[in-house]
């Protein structure tokens, strides 16, 4: 493949479809992280929670044949584990970061161990007949050329991810509980003085972030692929965490940041077919992000200073005619 063909392929509907496909499993943990960050208890166990979600979904679907029951079970397991993390942190005083690391390691090891016991394979569950969630073809839209190809025909999780972005926005900014949650994150003393139970709110936030992460995990194992693979979350939880900061801690921004990461990943995939070392290519998205953030910060500072200088000049011009001297 030549460089031109790679560039050309970026402007096809196929590429956009892959961007959406790749972004989805980042959006879920990103939203989860957002909720916990807003409550002032940043959940960093997203990776682990994705894994247990992914694993549970695959196992339950393989043994019961019911996809929706599988999804439900995946979520329930995530609730239990994140509740455990929350209790350790909020009531027993464990540092949240250390607790999160423990959960990540436990989930990584635990899922691999159980997979080996159940299937006899340490790598993946390829030999199990697990199910995947259905794809959705949107009436009318699917018939529009290009747009239909891009927007229609994705799996249920994809639509859910974008829809949840909206739901989380409403939750955080338009519901009582959500607003309290943000207050708890920003000024817990103020919240306490109004009778808001800080610990309970943080508990809820951690559980919500667990559920969202598990959905991201199941998106990987029941849509993206149709099996569970060891450590298949592959850093998406951490990328989700980064999306929150990049997205300015706002729902829409977080989602867009996640899509940006998806986009760079997709580009990296395309470049992967060129004769460039794969490791170098996969670095692109992260390197770009860091540079973009630094440039943005410098710009901001400059902009403020130059705005001040401008105002000052204007004001000075107004003052002319009544000049004031220094000594």
């Amino acid at each position: 493949m030549t460089f031109e063909t790679v560039i050309q392929s970026i402007f096809t509907s196929l590429f956009l479809v892959s961007v959406i496909r790749i972004s989805t499993p980042i959006i879920f943990p990103a939203l989860g992280s957002l909720v916990s960050v807003k409550a002032g208890a940043s959940n960093k166990a997203l990776e682990g929670l994705m894994l247990v979600g992914a694993f549970t979904g695959v196992m339950v679907s393989a043994y019961t044949g019911n996809v929706w029951l599988a999804v439900l079970c995946g979520m329930v397991v995530a609730v239990l584990i994140s509740a455990l993390l929350a209790i350790f942190h909020l009531y027993l005083g464990t540092d949240l970061f250390i607790g999160s690391l423990a959960v990540n390691m436990m989930c990584s090891g635990g899922t691999t161990f159980l997979m080996y016991i159940i299937t006899g394979d340490k790598g993946n569950t390829g030999n199990l007949a697990s199910l995947s969630v259905p794809n959705v073809h949107i009436p009318f839209i699917k018939d529009i050329p290009f747009i239909g190809e891009v927007l229609s025909g994705h799996n249920v999780f994809t639509y859910l991810a974008f829809f949840l972005t909206f739901v989380i926005y409403i939750f955080l900014y338009r519901t009582r509980y959500g607003v309290s949650l943000r207050a708890v994150g920003e000024n817990p003393e103020a919240a306490t003085s109004l009778g808001i139970n800080v610990k309970r709110v943080r508990m809820t936030a951690l559980i919500i972030s667990g559920v969202l992460s598990s959905l991201g995990g199941m998106n990987l194992s029941m849509a993206y692929l149709q099996m569970f693979a060891r450590d298949m979350s592959a850093g998406r939880g951490w990328i989700g965490l980064a999306s929150v900061s990049l997205g300015g801690k706002k729902p829409l921004g977080t989602m867009l940041a996640a899509v940006l990461f998806g986009f760079s990943d997709a580009i990296a995939n395309q470049f992967g077919s060129l004769d460039i070392p794969a490791q170098l290519v996969t670095m692109i998205p992260y390197a770009t992000t860091i540079i973009a953030l630094v440039v943005y910060a410098i710009q901001q500072r400059r902009a403020i200073l130059s705005r001040m200088k401008k105002f000052q000049k204007e004001n000075e011009e107004q003052l002319k005619g009544a000049p004031e001297k220094s000594e």
Binding site: R174, T192, S193, S326
Partner: protein, 514 residues
């Protein structure tokens, strides 16, 4: 008649062993304004937090309206129509005024928060009680006076009948204090009861019906305000004679320490908050800035200390323009700074008292020992300061958050004074400090000034500016409107006219005194 509130034999021992309340009896009648006074750390805030359900008493009974109460959290106290405005504001900075007012109990439509109602409710409450606020302003961007009113509106929104105001006037200008008192009188007329904590005995006389004095966690007595003089109250609080006036040795003005020339500052949204400010600070002299809060004092101090970038002008120390320096470099030039808001700029509340005291010098000898901090030196030095500034604490290893408000302020003052500054920029140095300690800090200011420090004093308390300063400039809308070379020769009234921009001296008139 039974009192509305009856606290009986309240004991409170904090986890760290501090006895904050010791057998306190406190009762409040319906419809009165009840002042609560006492030195820093006397246990006033603690007692009120107990009444507001935020702290549990170790021992004792709480009776409200003839019923015994066991408050588990402030929710219970709010339900018993008690509202509290805390000494340290309890607002969510990124939320709007209106969102803060209704927080936790927002009006809803179809299950979602009704944003219009949020704004309207706030506006109506604000009109009803004469407490002016901008409902849609972000709390971060409003001044302390308005923040205060937001806090009061919060309690009113929750239908509070009993309002506890913990040092509400500490952060207010005289004008704002007057407005607050008008509002309090309106509240009382509408049947509410107000408990009012303050260190300013003048205010006690002015507004309260009865006054309770506390000392060292004990209740000393409750009196009708009209029967006690300020001197008597001060003596009850401190347990000794207090001199409300300070004695100043004659001024020995030295060389120019700091020259401020044409200094301007423009806010990010383009408001000109300082306009061509010129003045000099001399060794051995206290220059006071008189101004109604919000006329550029805050910005002036922040620009001088490197916290905000100037838009134009120079500030010279010797031949060096410090506007290009970082705060650390400025401090290394022996310029000390007592910031106006101790919580955001003065102390790190989770760090210990010792750490807060050495934070500006830990990297220098003798506090440093090679790569490490010399714990021994730090300890003895801090013990001396705790003693000298009578900071009320069992030891210096406790976090600053365990101190009472006034004692936190003393930590800041102790650090800045002990750095042996050549220039001291003091913003509200006695905010929230009791009479005894205020006396002490003012004496200290005068003392280091007599030893040759140049001091810039900014205070919302006009009487403080007038009694402590040697020379005064009036600041109005970011401009110097007048300079008074001898502070003892200007009247409060005259100064007020310049502070409000009614009168203005020309630059030629001012030049030689600046």
């Amino acid at each position: 008649m039974r009192p509305l509130i009856d606290l009986i034999n309240i004991d409170k021992v904090y986890d760290n062993g501090v006895v904050a309340n010791n057998g306190v009896n406190f009762s409040v009648k319906k419809g009165e304004i009840h002042a609560l006074v006492g030195e820093n750390g006397a246990g006033k805030s603690t007692l009120m937090k107990i009444l507001y359900g935020m702290e549990k008493p170790t021992e004792g009974e709480i009776w409200v309206n003839g019923e015994q109460k066991h408050f588990n959290s402030s929710t219970d106290a709010i339900a018993a129509t008690i509202g509290m405005v805390h000494q340290n504001f309890m607002l969510v900075p990124s939320f709007t005024v209106a969102e803060n007012v209704v927080l936790g109990d927002e009006p809803r439509k179809n299950g979602l928060i009704d944003r219009d109602a949020v704004l309207n409710i706030t506006k109506d409450l604000s009109d009803q009680f004469g407490l002016f606020v901008q409902p849609d302003a972000i709390v971060n961007s409003i001044n302390v006076g308005m923040r205060q009113r937001v806090e009061i509106l919060k309690t009113l929104y929750r239908k509070a009948e009993i309002l506890i105001l913990d040092e509400p006037t500490a952060v207010l200008t005289p004008q704002e204090t007057d407005d607050l008192f008008i509002a309090i009188r309106i509240l009382v007329k509408q049947g509410k009861t107000v408990i009012f904590i303050t260190h300013k005995l003048r205010e006690v006389k002015e507004i309260s019906d009865r006054v309770t004095v506390m000392r060292h966690g004990k209740m000393i007595g409750t009196l009708d305000t009209k029967d006690v003089s300020r001197e008597q109250m001060a003596n009850m609080m401190v347990g000794r004679e207090v001199f409300l006036d300070i004695k100043k040795p004659k001024i020995k003005r030295g060389e120019k320490r700091m020259r401020v020339k044409n200094l301007s500052y423009v806010s990010e949204i383009g408001r000109q908050l300082l306009r061509n400010v010129n003045f000099n600070l001399y060794a051995g002299e206290i220059l006071g800035i008189a101004g109604v809060e919000g006329n550029g004092q805050t910005e002036l101090v922040e620009v001088l200390t490197g916290l905000k970038p100037a838009a134009g002008g120079t500030v010279l120390i010797g031949d060096c323009n410090i506007l290009e320096s970082t705060p650390r470099e400025i401090r290394l030039r022996k310029i000390a700074h007592i910031p106006e808001d101790r919580l955001s700029n003065g102390v790190a509340v989770r760090s210990t008292i010792e750490e807060n005291i050495i934070v500006d010098r830990y990297f220098q000898k003798p506090y440093r020992n090679g790569l490490f901090i010399n714990r021994k030196v730090v300890k003895t030095e801090c013990e001396n300061l705790i003693e000298k500034f009578s900071i009320l604490t069992p030891n210096g290893k406790l976090p600053v958050s365990s101190l009472s408000g006034g004692n936190m302020q003393k930590v800041v003052v102790a650090r800045e004074f002990s750095s042996e500054p050549e220039v001291l920029i003091a913003s509200q140095p006695t905010r929230g400090i009791d009479v005894g300690s205020t006396e002490f800090i003012r004496e200290q200011l005068v003392e280091i000034r007599s030893k040759g420090t140049a001091i810039l004093l900014v205070s919302a308390d006009l009487s403080e500016v007038m009694s402590v300063s040697d020379r005064i400039v009036a600041l109005y809308e970011g401009e110097i409107t007048g300079v008074f070379p001898d502070a003892s020769k200007v009247s409060e009234k005259e100064l007020g006219l310049y502070m409000l921009g009614v009168k203005q001296q020309t630059y030629e008139e001012m030049e030689k005194y600046l």
